[in-house]
């Protein structure tokens, strides 16, 4: 059994079923013509069919593969925390940028992320400042994108 394919297969089956269920309430078009539900419904049916094939193929695979790394190994690896810091960095941007503004938010995110990734402090400060002001100049001033100013408003 290929456990990964089985799990992905089941997730896709449930997902396809949810899409199909949602289209049940869609309005109908004139006689003989497809309505707004037509395409999503075909997509959902195809998702369920292919996901079923993936699940069955995964179940029938001869080599017994449970190749998930153990949780303790995941939490011990620094790579896991680096990846989490990248994801949290984007989430922090979404919540902070309107309050602190683009410059402060990007500075904080870059500084903290690079600190967690063990970039030496002096390098970190120089690189963070260059990227923060460089991107502000490029996007905010040259391309005139309306970047949130936050506390600098």
């Amino acid at each position: 059994m290929n456990i990964r394919d089985v799990i992905f297969g089941i997730v896709f089956i449930v997902f396809g079923a949810c899409i199909y269920y949602d289209t049940l309430d869609y309005p109908k078009a004139g006689p003989g013509l497809p309505g707004p539900d037509f395409f999503p419904r075909i997509v959902s049916i195809l998702i369920i069919i292919f996901a079923l094939v993936l699940t069955i193929k995964g179940l029938l695979e001869k080599d017994f593969k449970i190749d998930f790394p153990s949780f303790s190994n995941i939490f011990r690896s620094s790579g896991f925390y680096n990846a989490i810091s990248i994801i949290l960095g984007v989430i922090a941007y979404i919540y902070l940028v309107n309050v602190l503004g683009y410059i402060l938010t990007i500075f904080l995110i870059l500084f903290v992320t690079m600190m967690l990734m063990k970039v030496p402090i002096y390098h970190n400060i120089i690189i963070t400042l260059s990227i923060t002001f460089g991107t502000y100049f490029l996007f905010g001033i040259v391309l005139k994108i309306n970047l949130p100013m936050g506390v600098f408003r």
């Binding site: 990964r4 394919d5 992905f8 896709f12 899409i19 949602d22 289209t23 869609y26 309005p27 078009a29 006689p31 003989g32 013509l33 497809p34 309505g35 707004p36 395409f39 999503p40 997509v43 959902s44 195809l46 998702i47 292919f50 094939v53 993936l54 193929k57 690896s77 620094s78 790579g79 896991f80 680096n82 990846a83 810091s85 990248i86 994801i87 960095g89 984007v90 989430i91 941007y93 979404i94 940028v97 309107n98 990007i106 995110i109 870059l110 992320t113 690079m114 990734m117 063990k118 970039v119 390098h123 690189i127 990227i131 991107t135 996007f139 391309l143 005139k144 994108i145 309306n146 970047l147």
Partner: protein
């Protein structure tokens, strides 16, 4: 009639020249850094093209992709890590030769034969074949376009890396994502769950950046080598023996450039597949098969020529039919539509100046590759010293601002992150993500052409199969779905016997 002066004045515009130079440097930088793909680099370029007129915007993408694909050969040769997937096929051979002190010769071949000459070969094919194909396509109705879209999506699944079932699921996920928002025909809100931000649908640019950018960043920062610089090597004698290699392997060069252009023109198959196929064909016909994988110059000439010539090949279906040839041209298609340009046969009549200016930019991009590429090879040891723990957070900033900039929307940033995480988990479990992108790009065209056709035929399905070209395309589409199944059954039977 094509006005050559008009085209030259369009290209020699300072904005276009500046765009080409900046994109060349950016492409070389991205290509040289292992793991950063030309597709991801194109996705990150899109926000810039949004603020530029169509020609400099497209010039940036053309130049960047050509130089990134070439530059991907540099880390492949020096450190055995391909800079872009297009260099993966001949990485082992390049590295083995570098270990024998021939890194300069390998990179010289990559630059002159695999980059410059094969790139020009691909452009020549584009110039020769795109206009007559466009004339042929001018008789197409919405029915033929529907089948073309369906065929493009089907081949994307058939030729995608890994399992076709996973490719199909990835494609269907893309088709679903693109159906979110107001339905074009009836104006009905689908899958919005009362969220006003979703009424406009899943924004193309944040989706691209998320799907191609975020998984790459997560993979790189999760690596144990995140704290290390990439390599420290010196390269000598770059151009010394390239001409004698070209004389010896001229047939290989022409054969693989043709293979590359043809594979590039197939919807969904890009430079990486072209390189693998050319490598396989080269081995099949070689008199020195035993050298393959252990340092074969022949393999490098073949696979290197195929990957660069495929870039121009991919533009043939994109410009002629509006069906992208690879993931880069899928993004290009989105950019063209964003600019109000509709690729297809009419673009050759209504905007022939723009089309021929694009052809000329392709030639310029390959010419500019010579001096810029040579310098990059010389400076590669410096570029490869940048540690990943500095590079990746910097790229993250470009991902964030790139997805925010188009609509000034934080919702788009969140969308980029969510799709990026989904794409990461899919890739970790060997789901190709390129079909998902093609699905997002082609779904609106597919649905629009189908609805137009079915309303015109008043619900009749027969014309979808009785018009001659439509019938041929429908058979090709069905075959594209059946072929992986047939080869699977054949393999099973072979294993049993």
């Amino acid at each position: 009639m094509i006005d050559a002066f008009q085209i030259l004045s369009m290209i020699l515009n300072p904005e276009v020249v500046f765009a080409i130079v900046v994109a060349a440097l950016y492409g070389l930088f991205i290509g040289t850094i292992p793991g950063l793909t030309a597709t991801m680099a194109t996705a990150l370029l899109v926000p810039f093209t949004f603020w530029l007129p169509p020609l400099p915007g497209l010039a940036m993408i053309i130049t960047m992709s050509a130089l990134a694909i070439f530059a991907g050969d540099i880390p492949a040769t020096l450190i055995r890590i391909p800079g872009t997937p297009a260099s993966a096929a001949f990485t082992q051979d390049s590295y083995e030769l570098a270990k024998q002190g021939k890194a300069g010769l390998v990179l010289g071949i990559d630059l002159i034969i695999g980059g410059f000459l094969s790139g020009l070969f691909g452009v020549l094919m584009l110039i020769l074949f795109a206009p007559p194909l466009a004339e042929f396509a001018s008789s197409f109705t919405s029915i033929e376009y529907f089948w073309l879209c369906a065929f493009g999506l089907s081949t994307a699944v058939a030729v995608s890396t890994g399992s076709p079932i996973k490719g199909a699921l990835s494609l269907l996920l893309g088709l679903f994502l693109a159906s979110i928002g107001l339905d074009e025909t009836y104006g009905f809100a689908r899958f919005t769950f009362g969220n006003v931000e979703l009424l406009g649908g899943v924004s193309f640019i944040p989706a691209m950046i998320g799907i191609f950018g975020i998984p790459e960043i997560i993979r790189q920062v999760s690596s144990e080598k995140v704290y290390e610089s990439i390599a420290e090597t010196r390269v000598k004698y770059i151009l010394r023996d390239v001409l004698s290699v070209l004389r010896k392997y001229k047939i290989n060069f022409v054969r693989s450039s043709l293979i590359g252009t043809f594979i590039g023109a197939l919807p969904g198959a890009g430079a990486d597949i072209a390189a693998w196929v050319a490598y396989g064909v080269s081995k099949q016909f070689s008199r020195e098969k035993d050298k393959f994988g252990k340092g074969s110059i022949e393999a490098i000439v073949d696979a290197g020529s195929a990957n660069n010539s495929s870039l121009a090949g991919a533009w043939i279906p994109t410009l002629v039919f509006g069906i992208p040839g690879d993931s880069i041209t899928a993004i290009v298609l989105g950019v063209l539509m964003m600019k109000g340009l509709r690729p297809g046969p009419l673009i050759f009549q209504q905007q022939s100046d723009l089309v021929y200016a694009l052809f000329t930019i392709f030639i310029l991009a390959n010419i500019i590759m010579l001096p810029f590429g040579y310098l990059t090879i010389r400076l590669s040891s410096l570029l490869l010293k940048i540690p990943r723990n500095i590079l990746m957070p910097a790229i993250l900033v470009f991902c964030i601002i790139g997805s925010y900039a188009i609509n000034n929307s934080l919702f788009d940033v969140a969308l980029m992150l969510i799709l990026g995480i989904i794409a990461y988990f899919m890739e970790q479990n060997r789901f190709p993500t390129a079909p998902m992108v093609l699905g997002i790009v082609l779904q609106p065209i597919l649905e629009r052409q189908f609805m137009m056709s079915i309303i015109k035929t008043r619900g009749e399905v027969a014309p979808f199969f009785t018009r001659p070209i439509a019938a041929a395309l429908s058979i090709l589409t069905i075959l594209a779905w059946l072929l992986p199944l047939i080869s699977y059954v054949r393999e099973k039977l072979k294993n049993k016997t």
